[in-house]
Point group: C2
Chain length 147, copies 2
């Protein structure tokens, strides 16, 4: 994983730009954890069911921070912890995340999200509208499924 901002980019195609930043198996899962479950700390991300390795998680968090997707701040309550939150650039990934969900709900028969009929129905009606609502929700500290 590259760590500097060198001009070693494959192209300036916009699709490619996105893929170079979050085109891997883990980055969008971190964003998902924030948006859907309200996770904020390294330890919480680590507990996700997909089972990221500790070093991979650390390198992804650092890279996403470097790319301006996440911002990191010390936890006021516990000096050992840092709190990761989405920047505006990170919040703008929400439409992509939601479209992936729409796609999977349609094409993966085993998708868990199929149980959330009302949510999927709203997404299908207008992803753009739901995106805006979710963006505002997360911006103000909330998350989609707060249990």
């Amino acid at each position: 994983m590259k760590t500097t901002c060198k001009e070693d980019v494959r192209s300036h195609c916009s699709v490619n730009y996105g893929l170079e930043i979050f085109g891997d198996k883990w980055s969008l899962l971190i964003v998902r954890d924030i948006v859907f479950a309200g996770k904020k700390t390294y330890g919480e991300f680590l507990k996700s069911e997909e089972g990221v390795a500790t070093n991979i998680l650390a390198s992804r968090l650092a890279f996403l921070e470097e790319q301006g997707i996440l911002s990191k701040a010390p936890s006021p309550a516990d000096g050992r912890k840092d709190l990761y939150t989405l920047t505006e650039k990170g919040l703008d990934l929400i439409p992509i995340l939601l479209d992936i969900i729409v796609w999977s709900a349609k094409h993966d028969p085993k998708s868990n999200v199929r149980r959330r009929k009302e949510f999927v129905a709203r997404l299908n009606r207008s992803t753009q509208k739901v995106s805006e609502e979710v963006k505002e929700l997360v911006r103000s500290g909330g998350c989609i499924f707060s249990q």
Copy 2:
């Protein structure tokens, strides 16, 4: 890269399902080449400016076909070539692709797509509407930028 349909999936989260299929640096570039440039053959994909290695391209094409995103058929005109086209499952990736473009147009100052002001404006107005139009266009053999 796995090649069989074994139940070695990390989770049934819908975000994860998508990432396991197209969460890498190349798959969506292939879809882009079809949707935007109307590419259809191995040789055409290979020429893309990002420079895929031949073996990687071959393995991605095979995997995407196996996952039902692409379908492959012998070229009627030239017996050496195969034509790859998007299935309905593949066409349904178009909204995701367009949202990535919207995101990059906003956040990458060097993005090429910023030059296509009219296109980006239409995307921002209604990604969902443009998606439907593009899906229909590609389904009937067209592509976005036919030059």
